[in-house]
Symmetry: C2
Subunit: 469 residues, 2 copies
């Protein structure tokens, strides 16, 4: 056990060194959040398929409860109950553009070094043009339910439910429940509850009112995660235990072109349509998943219907809701409908990342709208939605806590393109052997369990394991 404690201590010293200008200390958070018995006892798993390049290596690390798919190297790190999905990594020979053509000389690999990730999702590929073959996470602590999506990190702290998307970060603090997608960021501390997207064409920024945010997510005086979002996931935790106790699970009736991950929880009267992808650690209960829909990692779809081609991005929660076709529910959104206060979302709507809809009355959002921020009543929609058509014609917009500058059309197009890209890579449009995506390629994964040393000074450390073709 001694080695695990040394490892944790070394990681927090390194992260603190990177964040010294902010006088920031990750140690109390790490100490409050580390569940040592689980760290010592949980097994980890990795998936092998014939469709994804294979190279996995775990050394001098603890990876309790985590899941790995695709190329990944973990060294001197704790990756706790995290999902590391390398199924969108770039491959050797692929060409990226950055003023001139830049062909990849080898397959891209995710590398995690000197970092502590709590229940973090890692997905997509490096959008850091300087390291196209390496999607790296170094000297970083990421808190519960954070998403590291296509973003390289060095010397960072990501707060609870924080998302960093398609960018590069150096020595930054990203506050709880903040979402940022701003290409590159150096030595910045982002306030909790910030939703910020910016590039050469536009900038979108929304800030959660402090009082509201802390109802949903915060650290208490003892540095323990609290709030309704934490309560929500904690309450449903035990349901998952069953999944991790059995090697094989009863498979149930799903179309051949769809995948339900072995570590997904599917209950009640759930119906899975064609070309549907249900990822690990997602929870479906009385969910109707129309053709081409998906439920990504850490999502919950309960008593809800997704009409078809709907995207439920990493960490999104959809309760008592009815979604029209082609609705994009982005990262960590919380659509908290109730039996007497259902949420109805029209087709082609974009629910921005980190949106919370939590009302005591039914909420109806018309077709073709952008939705963001906190919505506590139907009345709140005035300051938290705009029709896509109106946005396309805007270049300056202030609505409630949201400020938009730049090319509205470019902004809407960027989202639409991304949405279509997500459907494509997930295999939503698969037909007759064409347009194959994750829903078709991930289904033939085999799952392998690995465990740490059980006794001695290395207790909790995993042996060095290398898996290659």
């Amino acid at each position: 056990m001694k080695q695990v404690l040394l490892l944790i201590d070394r990681i927090s010293s390194r992260v603190n060194a990177n964040l010294r200008e902010f006088d920031f200390d990750v140690e109390p958070f790490i100490n409050a959040s580390t569940n040592l018995p689980k760290l010592l006892n949980y097994y980890a798993s990795y998936a092998v398929t014939s469709k994804h390049p294979l190279k996995l290596q775990f050394s001098s690390s603890n990876v309790a409860g985590s899941y790995f798919l695709g190329k990944c190297l973990v060294n001197r790190s704790v990756v706790y109950k995290s999902d590391v999905r390398g199924d969108e990594l770039k491959r050797k020979g692929e060409i990226i553009f950055c003023s001139k053509e830049l062909p990849l000389v080898e397959d891209e690999i995710i590398t995690i070094r000197d970092s502590f990730l709590f229940k973090t999702l890692i997905h997509n590929k490096s959008h850091n043009l300087e390291t196209p073959e390496e999607f790296f996470i170094r000297n970083t602590v990421a808190a519960h339910f954070s998403n590291i999506h296509g973003s390289t990190l060095e010397g960072c702290y990501l707060g609870l439910f924080a998302t960093v998307d398609l960018m590069a970060l150096h020595s930054c603090i990203v506050g709880d429940f903040s979402y940022i997608q701003v290409e590159e960021l150096f030595h910045r501390a982002i306030k909790p509850g910030t939703v910020w997207l910016a590039n050469d064409d536009f900038s979108f920024q929304y800030n959660y009112p402090e009082e509201i945010l802390k109802r949903y997510v915060a650290l208490d005086a003892e540095f323990k995660p609290v709030g309704r979002l934490i309560d929500f996931v904690e309450e449903r935790k035990t349901d998952f235990d069953r999944l991790f106790e059995q090697i094989t699970m009863d498979s149930f009736d799903i179309p051949q072109s769809s995948t339900v991950n072995r570590f997904a929880l599917v209950q009640g009267k759930t119906r899975i349509g064609k070309n549907v992808l249900i990822c690990q650690r997602s929870c479906l209960e009385n969910a109707e998943m129309g053709i081409g829909s998906n439920a990504q990692e850490n999502t919950y779809i309960i008593n809800s219907k997704l009409s078809g081609y709907d995207v439920t991005a990493h960490g999104a929660k959809i309760l008592h809701s009815l979604l029209g076709r082609k609705v994009f529910v982005a990262f960590n959104s919380f659509l908290n409908g109730k039996p007497t206060a259902r949420i109805k979302i029209g087709q082609n709507c974009i629910i921005m990342p980190h949106t919370i809809i939590d009302a005591d009355e039914p909420i109806t959002i018309p077709d073709n709208h952008l939705v963001w921020g906190f919505i506590g009543s139907q009345n709140d929609l005035r300051e938290n939605t705009i029709s896509l058509a109106d946005l396309e014609n805007s270049n300056e917009l202030v609505l409630g806590n949201m400020v938009f500058h730049g090319d509205g059309k470019a902004f809407v197009n960027a989202f639409k393109e991304r949405f279509e890209h997500i459907l494509e890579v997930n295999g939503a449009y698969y037909a007759k052997g064409k347009n194959r995506g994750h829903a078709q390629s991930d289904q033939s994964a085999s799952f392998n369990m690995i465990q740490p040393y059980r006794t001695g000074p290395n207790r909790g450390i995993y042996p060095t394991i290398t898996i290659e073709p």
Copy 2:
């Protein structure tokens, strides 16, 4: 799947090339015995402890249903539902004697290359003085429930329930249910049902009558294993399935100094005493395991009592029997007592490897006896037992189908020493932190599951996996 078929084909060609002088063909046996769906779908497991040196590597192989502990390298082989236990391998610096001192320059490792092993047990360490650091098995096919015990093999075929013990074999065929321990053997075909021990001091040989042997074990016209021994294990097979479907098993009350392996089946009113070792794939039902007793791999102890310090060697089966203290039931013996025909064995008895006791009347064997061959009635004991005292005074002996030459005292001593050595290494004499053995060192193992590719030409082949400290 193509690669698995090529692999199997290549192995049989190589083994056939080694055995060409006998005009022997392993192919029909391999084809009849290979359960392709299971080969393609079963997972394998390896154990990691802090007590045993660690180095495992699996490459270009299928290891479905197998279990590995300690240093082992598997390359271009099929190791099907086998147990490979490297917990008695020699370690760097250890000294073996062969006219002069020979210190080991590195830890010993089991290497399995170009071989196909069916439900085979591999244990102990290389007794081949020429390769003290490598316990190798090359170009070999071993049939169901064979034991490769401390024996290096190249170019061999081991029949059903065959045992090779503490020796080296080159281009040999060992018939079904034969046991041999004769130091070294070149280019020999051993008839089925031969029990043969020989060294400079003595020689013991027993041959099963053909008619009797084929009731218990044989290949039928389609090369499928048949007979009562096969029926016995097949009937109990489904009970094991449960063990392999769950990650964690309910643990039950056992003394701190004892180990029940995660993949052992323990049922009914079974009582486990102190310093007891229950190995993987052993089956206990209404078994009373006295202090310091053990049940090694593929053993069955049903409705029986072991009074204490009893050894149940790999593959032995004990039914409706009462064993006094310090009884040695050696490899693959079948003590087939019935509720109305119980078997009672006095203390300090040695049941020779591959003994069958199968009567319709109670059988009682007095203390301090050696027992061998086939015993179908109390009357048969006359030609199949001798008191250890009488044997110690013999140097020439013919009893029924048994012929003994040489130093009787040396023979008895060799068995007694080995018996005590087995008790020691298994931890039977553990007390107050001293005399630690497998029962104490194997209990903190963590079990890791690995799986093959699920689709594509490599379906059924395991990725290259390397596990190091």
